[in-house]
Symmetry: C2
Subunit: 243 residues, 2 copies
Amino acid sequence: MVRDLIPMPTKNLTTTARSTYRHGDLRRTLIAAGLTLARESGPTAVVLREVTRRAGVVPNAAYRHFRNRDALFSAVRAAALAAMARSMEDQLAQLGPPREDLAYAKASVRAVGTGYLRFARRETGMFRTAFAVLFDVEPTPDPEKAGESGLNPFQLLGAALDRLARCGGISAKRRSGAEHVAWSAVHGLAMLSIDGPLRRLPVKQFESLGRRLLDMVEDGLASPLPGLRTKAPLVRLPQVRPS
Amino acid sequence: MVRDLIPMPTKNLTTTARSTYRHGDLRRTLIAAGLTLARESGPTAVVLREVTRRAGVVPNAAYRHFRNRDALFSAVRAAALAAMARSMEDQLAQLGPPREDLAYAKASVRAVGTGYLRFARRETGMFRTAFAVLFDVEPTPDPEKAGESGLNPFQLLGAALDRLARCGGISAKRRSGAEHVAWSAVHGLAMLSIDGPLRRLPVKQFESLGRRLLDMVEDGLASPLPGLRTKAPLVRLPQVRPS
DNA sequence: TGTACATCAGTGAACGCGCGTTCACTGATGTAC
DNA sequence: TGTACATCAGTGAACGCGCGTTCACTGATGTAC
């Protein structure tokens, strides 16, 4: 039986064979198994029966810990988001101790984007799982979705932009909505690098493209001299009409 | 029977009731039914049995026209891409007859982006269907995926960028890879407006956000004065290391 | 113009599959006495 | 310290579902003579 291979918390540590049918920490084990499936094969692979199979347990055992398949999936998705946050925090950590100057602020926005992009590329399955369902940015932060810092990916971006605003790298007027613009650009590249034509791009070119995109975002956030920008000609998203 | 309600090509046009079990143009009907499903409920709704049900035909009848479910889905996806191309062409048409000046070139890039974004927002189901599978930009254009102009969505973007380059709106050096940067930004906003937190945004704010994003892309494509840009501080995507 | 016939688009019935979920159960564990 | 017992985590069997796909068939159509 598969479950005999999984180390159990047991009082008699010399007993390697399963001496009880009590698992001990099935909830965590199920989430871990689900995350492995997500990592290997994406969100559609997170199938209740397969998750329990990997945990060495009968399918309905999952119902002791999750209301249904959806609840299990949500927990797996939260774990994927936490992994993503950690990837972003890794990049931030490379900047050294946080400072309150413009150089650090700009760099931290880049770091956040870099962590996001690399996570998408390296952990495609988890990335897709994180965005597999309709999702919202929760005003009440869920620690299950957060990294070491206690912030989830979106909050990490928000914090970096806040610092940028504090350091004068972004005008107060441009601050609002900035996360949407920045997130869009980076998210789009991530998606195209996963499902789209960019997925065949070698790492070097992917990194270079990421750099170029982050340049664009950086410039875009730093408003050009006011008044210098002329009204864009012709189409600037005229009102909607049915096609 | 549902199929009695569908007009049939028949010699005797006075016969409105079905006089034969021959459908006449099932292939097209199946694609149309599939596209309707995709439009209403996204790619996962494009289910062979449901498609044939809607066409008023028995499930295995589809196998006269498609090798399997995947082939049917691909045809539906192509139709979704064509609809998307048409949405982009609609925006281009609003600019009036094509010209070879910088103003028109810039406007056409915006128009392409605008058509893409509006299609994502208005025709969410079709948009998601277009990107439901791993996809590539085919070097050999498939007319099934094209709009009136014979160009598919990606080619429409490429053509607009080519014109921009011809008109001096983008340096030759920046031209290469420009579609990836531009596409990423717009694609990301589209995705967040579908599955993400931006899907609740009212039209007005969505349009305004789109405008801001297109501003950013426009500025990003027009290279800043060379040499003016200093090396970005600290993190510029340093080499990959395992997290 | 009429008749025989081959074609082949659509039918009808059936299959195996894996899924999520339910039910009544069992028996190791920890606790109360 | 020993025993009785309630708890509740995991079992075993079964369900209905809709799916994609297969098979042998039928009968309207268009064509050849």
